[in-house]
């Protein structure tokens, strides 16, 4: 099998070169220099991805919990406030990542349908406003009935925007020429979405336990368990694609690999799955500490997973052999 065939992804077409030119790529690079440039996205961006993912999924949980009626009032309230908190803190962190933070509002100069960052900026704005309205219903609803009605009316749209917030960041990373991010657009979004939902369910489970609503917390932990199982599958699919494309090294080796395997997978998925599983088997006797630790691990692991993906992407952009591997052929 020739090198070109090995490297070219299925469903892609290689451009024709003259016969006198070497037909197969044997791994040549230009003095080993990077072929594309790495992003400037750092821990501030991965923090934002985590915070807004949790906030977005919290709105989804709030909308679903509200259907359970008055018994879910506490959960709905906490979910809405969590979403509001996230949509206030997240953008502040994100704006700090801009090289000219004072021009953050230029994000709202235009709507660019081809740019997930442009659409994401508008989505974030809408989500923030809707989260504010839904929280307003909680804060002023008792004294002012109109506020409650506004808050409830905002809940549906807030949940939809929240679903978008949980996943759009993956679409943003995938829509670049960074080999690692661009090679797995769908699995990455599924991974970010499931991690966001697991994080929101875990954060709310912690809050429910603190409020003494243990049974509600257990349902949230069950949701987190399910989301983690799905995250495991999505993560496996992403890894499979990276390996098949021959560009998995940055996320498997070195510090980033340790963060990915130790933080994102072991701490963020395997440990909480085991803890929650044990809790299921043993029942009530397991006590509150184990599920609480598991919830904390989900949140920390989710952050580690996002940060590992971000770092590995930036590293893969600096590897010309990776950039050339994924550009041997292109879809029409």
């Amino acid at each position: 099998m020739s090198a070109t065939l090995q490297h070219r992804r299925p469903g892609t077409e290689a451009p024709r070169l003259p016969d006198a030119v070497q037909q197969d790529w044997h791994g040549e690079t230009y003095h080993g220099r990077p072929a594309v440039k790495a992003s400037s996205f750092d821990w501030r961006v991965s923090t934002y991805i985590v915070i807004l993912g949790v906030a977005g999924s919290a709105q989804l949980i709030a909308a679903l919990a509200r259907r359970a009626g008055p018994e879910a009032r506490g959960l709905v309230r906490r979910a809405r406030l969590l979403a509001l908190g996230g949509s206030m803190v997240g953008p502040l962190v994100l704006v700090q990542h801009l090289k000219t933070p004072s021009r953050w509002f230029n994000m709202l100069r235009i709507v660019r349908p081809t740019s997930p960052m442009s659409l994401g900026s508008w989505l974030l704005t809408g989500f923030g406003l809707l989260s504010g309205l839904s929280a307003l219903g909680e804060l002023l609803g008792r004294r002012w009935r109109f506020a409650r009605r506004v808050g409830d009316a905002a809940q549906g749209p807030a949940a939809l925007a929240g679903a978008g917030m949980s996943v759009y960041t993956a679409a943003l990373l995938s829509s670049t020429s960074t080999p690692l991010w661009a090679a797995a657009p769908a699995p990455l979004a599924a991974q970010f979405g499931t991690s966001s939902m697991a994080g929101a369910a875990s954060a709310l489970a912690l809050m429910q336990r603190a409020a003494g609503e243990e049974r509600s917390a257990r349902r949230l932990e069950a949701l987190a368990t399910l989301a983690l199982a799905a995250e495991w599958l999505a993560g496996r699919e992403a890894e499979r694609r990276w390996r098949r494309a021959g560009i998995a090294a940055p996320i498997e080796r070195g510090t980033t690999g340790a963060l990915h395997h130790g933080g994102g997978k072991a701490l963020g998925v395997v440990a909480p799955l085991a803890a929650h599983g044990l809790g299921r088997v043993v029942g009530g006797r397991v006590g509150p500490l184990l599920p609480e630790l598991a919830s904390l691990a989900v949140l920390l692991g989710g952050a580690a997973m996002r940060h590992a993906v971000l770092r590995a992407g930036n590293e893969s952009a600096c590897r010309p052999q990776d950039a050339f591997r994924v550009t041997q052929g292109a879809r029409r």
Binding site: K37, L60, N106, T327
Partner: protein
Amino acid sequence: MAGGLAHPRTLEYTDRDPQGPVPQEAELTAGHRVESGRSYGFFTDTTLCIGCKACEVACKEWNNLPADQPGLTGQSYDNTGRLGAHSWRHVTFLERGARATSMPPFQSNWLMMSDVCKHCDPAPCLEACPTGALFRTEFDTVVVQQDICNGCGYCVPACPFGVVELAKEDGKAHKCTLCYDRLKGGLEPACAKSCPTDSIQFGPVEALQQRAAARVEELEAQGQTAAYLYGTPGGPGATGGIRRLNAFFLLTDRPERYNLPPAPSRPSRNARPSFLAGLATMAGLAVAAALIGVGRR
């Protein structure tokens, strides 16, 4: 004119300052007028490049770009290293083995190419820019508006060729403007005008493409059968949703040797499958949450 420094055609404009620029000077230096509404670009013929770096110097001089790579790389004569915020032309050097004795005299067998922003159509950096700082000019070129850019840096990983970069000094994205200011004044871009061998040619893209196709045939007739165009419609470089590169190249070896991807893709094509897969995941999780009975005691 004392010293004969002014162009003879200034005499046609005696009512103007004779030291000032000649209107539509590009017609004299490049053979093409610069008119808004037409597509302009570069045809960089690497078989003519002698690696003099006059283009790099002219670019830095005209655009007031600071020297940012004072060291030596040890990579042939390439001490610029890469395109970046302050290097909008970059001459690549590849010393291809020993000179083949079967070659005609006065040929080195080296590959040299003056790399530049490709001014893609459609342009991934422009498609990524959330502020509208990156825009398409009346000359069909792609330019960053420095007073709009807020340094989000999304155009940097979006570019399939690693061209755009944030400057450390001001945190804004910078890249080749195809001398937007010169085009406005009817001047040929600085790099093309300074190129002593006409390896860099400036003109309307369609005219350049025709000229380039003819050049490939001419080279073939001369025995250089490895010549091909990178960035013309349907060819390497113009793949994956990128229709054409307004700054295209004539190469004689695999694109990777010049640090170019053989089949780049328009990255924004990944957004829809990613976003839809994510939303489907969230819908599935919402159904699961409803079945679990989240909210119930």
